[in-house]
């Protein structure tokens, strides 16, 4: 082999490797089914084994500002939210066992069963804390492409798989590059959009030894009153195995 042909061979080899690697990466995501993509996006907002985080909720509703700090322990379909601040609501607890929800507070004799639709604060419903299971709660009826802040996205049209889901329909933008949900529009049964949410992922968790982006902020804006904004900031994220006892109604001390 001449020096020239050897150089051409190396060049061809490098090109082949580069194209091959590129193809491999794009195929890695391209080979995922829409349901798998949705599941990947869910992983950035919850965890099957267990996750703990703090949510700082700030809401502006008709000009009135409110703030709550919650500690959330979540695993699979269950979560426990404990209100830490302000003092007026400290000690209140919201236990979500799948779609069954219970609210307890100091002074109340027993936990009250509540529905996912009930309001938590501002534009956030109770179901928003635990709504990490879009893949389980919604069917993908249509997929297309879209852009959010210059980032190419899969645009999923999600329809509630049964009437236990918090929302009837969600339009959900998932980043093609990062496989995280960037934006969502929530619709009522009558087809009216009533709020939108944008998500940020500045937290990081480690799953199977690999770092993974994790939700850091969710900003909910009312579709009716644009100035009504609820911001949920997620911090102190820890992945850990959470035992069944955390979600047990018999141990929910008041």
């Amino acid at each position: 082999m001449t020096k020239r042909s050897s150089k051409r061979f190396r060049k061809t080899l490098l090109w082949t490797m580069a194209v091959g690697m590129g193809l491999h990466f794009s195929c890695a995501y391209a080979s995922l089914s829409p349901k798998q993509i949705l599941r990947k996006a869910d992983e950035a907002r919850g965890n099957e084994e267990g996750v703990e985080w703090r949510i700082d909720i700030r809401s502006v509703e008709r000009g009135r500002k409110q703030q709550r700090t919650l500690r959330v322990s979540a695993r699979s379909f269950n979560s426990l939210a404990e209100f830490l601040a302000p003092p007026n609501v400290r000690g209140q607890k919201l236990l979500m066992l799948d779609r069954n929800m219970w609210f307890a507070k100091p002074g109340l004799s027993k936990p009250v069963p509540i529905s996912p639709r009930q309001k938590l604060l501002g534009g956030a419903a109770n179901g928003d804390i635990a709504s990490t299971n879009y893949a389980g709660d919604y069917n993908i009826v249509k997929t297309s492409e879209g852009m959010v802040n210059g980032e190419k996205c899969y645009l999923f049209d999600l329809k509630a798989s049964d009437n236990r889901a918090t929302y009837d329909r969600i339009l959900y933008w998932i980043s093609m590059k990062r496989l995280v949900g960037l934006k969502a529009e929530f619709y009522t049964v009558s087809g009216k959009m009533f709020k939108t949410a944008v998500f940020e992922y500045k937290n990081s968790i480690t799953i199977a030894g690999k770092p993974r982006e994790f939700i850091s902020r969710m900003v909910i804006t009312s579709a009716l009153i644009k100035n009504d904004v609820t911001t949920m900031n997620y911090g102190r994220v820890v992945i850990r195995k959470i035992p069944d006892s955390v979600f047990n109604l018999n141990l929910l001390t008041r």
Partner: protein, 449 residues
């Protein structure tokens, strides 16, 4: 008094000492800014919790002029009450042991406008521990505890027939605490869907309700199921010197807005008092007519709630309470009560018998006097992120007396909450809701430190 106070203080001191002895810095999890997977030592502040709520409230109420309380001479219900309550909650959580105590200090001023105490006023103070608990975690699936608890369960508002221990489920007025009873509990959690509890009610604790008979120890086996579709529980109870009873509750979240639930029990009311005709001066007396038979009566409650898009929730419940009085028994009961009330004014032994009978008619041992009840409730929380409102109508479907309750609270800043609970009873004096109070209004302020 001195000894009792000293005992109560000892309990507090023991709790604090125990808390100090068992506290160990427990390894916890990474905090904000830490790299995931790293660990930190749980701060003492996170292991020990101290919350203090101070409630100051006043009550204005009007006693009914009924045969149960003629001229307010029998129950002597004060017209005005002023209260100051200190409610600290202490808790210590370690890896294997949880300790909790709720000592209470209550100062109360009462003033009467009717009855034998008319124009008088008095002060009362009380220091007590309403609840306390020591819970040991044997492992992640097994918990053993003993303490004084307000042990409540079930989804219903009207009453909780499945709970064999507490006649009051605390829903009527959330600012009044239900007195705790003493329980030992073993809780086993085999998996996320099932829980099995063994519960021993060893003492009446502070819940010294005026039952016609003495307190009897009770033991319950409770099995809970939690699924995606709903939840359910079965409670088998054995009371010493009594028959067994079976209770249950369950519910389903039909949609994000609709909940349906049921609660019930098959119960014996061998200790409850019923009016029976006899040769006594009033022609009848209150007796435990089911003391020697094994009649089992059902108590069933069905309920549902719907949450509107704007956030308000409407709840409806119907309850059938089998042990309650039939129409004939109710007629006999009210005739007996009227005769006992008249006898109060006569003086002498007949007055004493009247007093005893009225004590029995107000403490029958039944959770409700009659058999059929309905509840309608509208509740909306976080209105403008600061107002909670509840309107509740309870209807006795047998004597058509009713009770309207309105609960409201307003959050004023991060520490102060204003609250009000108003109750208006409708019905003649010889009806269940018309028999004790015409109305009651409670207004106050809660400061949380």
């Amino acid at each position: 008094m001195q000894t009792t106070l000293s005992k109560k203080l000892n309990v507090l001191i023991i709790f604090v000492l125990l808390a100090g002895m068992v506290w160990r810095p427990a390894p916890a999890l990474s905090a904000e800014g830490d790299s995931p997977g790293s660990s930190e030592i749980r701060k003492p502040a996170e292991a020990f919790r101290f919350d203090l709520r101070v409630l100051s409230y006043g009550i204005i109420q009007q006693s009914s002029d009924s045969s149960q309380n003629p001229g307010n001479n029998f129950l002597q219900i004060p017209r005005y009450t002023g209260n100051l309550e200190f409610r600290p909650d202490l808790a210590l959580k370690t890896d294997s042991l949880d300790l909790m105590a709720k000592p209470r200090l209550r100062l109360e001023y009462r003033e009467w406008e009717e009855g034998s105490r008319e124009g008088r006023g008095d002060w009362e103070s009380d220091l007590y521990v309403n609840e306390w608990l020591a819970r040991w975690k044997a492992n992640e699936n097994l918990f053993v505890s003993y303490g004084r608890e307000n042990l409540q369960w079930g989804p219903s508002f009207l009453f909780s027939p499945s709970n064999p221990f507490f006649p009051d489920n605390g829903r009527r007025n959330p600012y009044e605490e239900v007195p705790g009873m003493d329980f030992g509990r073993v809780i086993w959690i085999p998996d996320s869907a099932w829980t099995v509890s063994f519960i021993a009610n060893t003492d009446e604790g502070r819940n010294d309700i005026n039952l016609p008979g003495p307190f009897e120890r009770a033991y319950a086996l409770k099995m809970d199921y939690q699924g995606r579709e709903g939840y359910g529980s079965v409670i088998l109870t054995h009371r010493e010197n009594s028959e067994n009873s079976l209770g249950f509750y369950g519910g389903v979240t039909l949609s994000d807005a609709v909940l349906v639930y049921a609660e019930g029990a098959m119960i014996r009311h061998d200790y409850a008092l019923y009016p029976r005709r006899d040769g006594s001066p009033f022609g009848a007396s209150m007796e435990r007519i089911h003391a020697d038979d094994s009649t089992v009566q059902p108590a069933i409650l069905l309920g549902s709630s719907y949450t509107f898009a704007e956030g308000g929730t409407f709840t409806g419940e119907y309850a059938y309470y089998g042990p309650g009085y039939s129409g004939a028994e109710a007629d006999r009961y009210y005739v007996l009560r009227r005769k006992a009330a008249e006898a109060l004014a006569y003086g002498g032994p007949i007055s004493g018998l009247g007093r005893l009978t009225l004590w029995q008619t107000v403490n029958t041992g039944l959770r409700h006097l009659r058999r059929n009840y309905a509840l309608l409730q509208y509740n909306r929380n976080n209105i403008e992120d600061c107002i909670d409102l509840t309107f509740r109508w309870t209807q006795n479907l047998d004597d058509w007396s009713g009770q309207l309750t309105a609960l409201g609270s307003y959050i004023l800043g991060n520490h102060i909450q204003l609250f009000a609970v108003g109750t208006v009873n409708g019905g003649r004096g010889d009806t269940e809701f018309g028999g004790l109070l015409d109305y009651q209004c409670m207004m106050g302020l809660q400061y949380t430190f």
